[in-house]
Amino acid sequence: MTALLDVHDLQVHLPVDGKLKPILSSVSFSIAEGETLGLVGESGSGKSMTARAIARLLPPGGEAAGEIRFGGSDVLALGGSELRAYRARSLGMVFQDPRAHINPVRRLGDFITESLRDAGQPTEAANERAIHLLSEVGLTDGGRLLGQFPHEMSGGMLQRVMIAAALANEPKLLLADEPTTALDVSTQAEIMAILLELRREHRLAVLFITHDLELAAATCDRVCVMYAGTIVEIQDASALFGAPLHPYTSALLASRPDISVRQRAQAIPGRPLSLFEAPPGCSFAPRCRFAVEDCLADRPDLRPVGPGRVACIRAEELDGATRGSEGSADG
């Protein structure tokens, strides 16, 4: 498979309390056409900033270095009209809270057709296309919905409208940042069903950002686990879930409360860090129960181990051991 998106050695700095601080370091991955890649991590891991760097939508003062190639073009070098065309035609974006991203005083039709009218389509054709898009996300009463306002819709309906709008210009890549986190569980299942179907029908590539490991494992082809601004593990979703390579991935899986049995949770001590707070060496070392002195020396590179890639110097010797339940740490 050829890569649609290729991110190589991405570094991002953002102003924090007036000083430029590192947020992402050596982030590298690629997404093929039609592939769903999960980015999983906790607060400060840098998963959302990775998506924003890809869309060239970093907060003011943010700086990105490294390489982002989309279908052969150099994204970080795009300017002016090329950048607008890239955002409008190559990317679709869906966020956690649709209410924060849809103008509350404009009708839904305006929102969905905005990018079509910008691209020069006459209003009538744009409206027709909008009705078709709404039917693709399971909203059959499109003609009436176009005249409605966001406050008349439930969160799940509004998220479908957001997906419909993201698909208006037939993008190749969908950036979905926690698209179901604010929704009820059964609504989450519906939205995921729509995303999975669209991916199949349009060969859409999806960068799926979530804090929920189970959701990523259930819906993605491959998953990147991020911690403190770096990728610590990449694997096929099913392998990652059954045989995690990095101690952080194992600890994250073990700390999730179990629905089938009541037992004391295996909490990870401490809290997740941002890259600029992390000590030298492995960022996870201070919270890792397998850390040895060598872990504190240099930041480990992502390297191939077994079926995946992992940034842990002890990955081979720990194979399997990290999944044991002995010696649970408690914060």
């Binding site: 299942a189 700390s255 409360p257 949770a265 909490a267 914060g331």
Partner: protein, 287 residues
């Protein structure tokens, strides 16, 4: 931990609790519709026990919590705490204060429920002054004890909320709720907004506190795994009704109501089929 029910005396008894909200219509009230948020809910919470209220948006679980704590007034039903019935009418300030020592509530987002200009120790001190007549030495000792109970040290005691992480702020909210020495603690999605690794810490903390203090919990949550870990009994709510109730473990293992089954099926896992779940949901017309 074993799963047997704590054989304590009843601390909270609720019978026939109902609440209808009137929404929409013109400013004169024409065209208003009544939405029955909670219909005829009854429960019995033993001392040191824990009951989960689960359901989705609009199920009535949060309204139930707000009725119990006194933030909403019920249309019908009785709420009895430690044998004493809560009257539905207006209550005096001292009665309100006494009620605060019976039930306290912890919310989802501690950031919006803590005073940004108040240090952690001051925040706990405020609750102690409000509820008890202790001298400053006694209060200092109690603050130290409470913060130690939730795993916060001296540095955090002096910090402002913005200087703390999300997990630490939730610990502060728990310490403030415990400061009133309540018999019942209502946890309204209290661990939902936390990072997974922090959520486990807080769940363990809550388990320890219940064991040590015999405080009883009402756990309002959309997360069935969380409810499994910290409750003995669960009520499943749907559009204001309790559609299923039972011992938490057996309810989750052998659900009887289609809505409970649908909630369980909706939890993502390997081999999950969201398409099938949403098709079944539409067929069953569960909303």
């Amino acid at each position: 931990m074993d799963e047997t029910l704590v054989a304590g005396a009843t601390i909270l008894e609720v019978e026939g609790l109902s609440k209808t909200f009137h929404v929409g219509g013109t400013w004169r009230g024409r065209g208003r519709v009544g939405v029955e948020a909670v219909r005829n809910l009854s429960l019995r919470l033993p001392q040191g026990g824990s009951i989960g209220l689960v359901g989705e948006s609009g199920s009535g679980k949060t309204t139930t919590a707000r009725l119990l704590v006194g933030l909403e007034r019920p249309d019908a039903g009785t709420i009895r705490i430690a044998g004493r019935e809560r009257s539905l009418g207006k209550v005096s300030a001292s009665e309100r204060r006494r009620r605060g020592r019976e039930i306290q509530m912890v919310f989802q987002d501690p950031y919006t429920s803590l005073d940004p200009r108040q240090s952690v120790a001051e925040g706990v001190d405020e609750v102690l002054r409000f509820h008890f007549s202790l001298d400053s030495r006694e209060r200092r000792a109690r603050i130290e004890e409470l913060l130690e109970q939730v795993g916060l040290g001296e540095r955090e005691a002096r910090a402002l909320p913005r200087g703390l992480s999300g997990g630490q702020r939730q610990r502060v909210a728990i310490a403030r709720a415990l400061a009133a020495a309540p018999s019942v603690l209502i946890l309204d999605e209290a661990v939902s907004a936390l990072d997974v690794s922090i959520q486990a810490q807080i769940l363990n903390l809550l388990g320890d506190i219940r064991e040590q203090t015999q405080v009883s919990f009402i756990v309002v949550s959309h997360d069935l795994a969380v409810v499994r870990q910290i409750t003995e009994e669960t009520l499943v709510m749907y559009k204001g009704d309790v559609v299923e109730r039972g011992e938490t473990g057996s309810l989750l293992e052998q659900p009887n109501h289609p809505y409970t089954r649908m909630l369980l099926d909706s939890i993502p896992r390997i081999g999950w089929e969201p398409e099938r779940i949403s098709a079944e949901r539409r067929a069953a017309d569960l909303g």
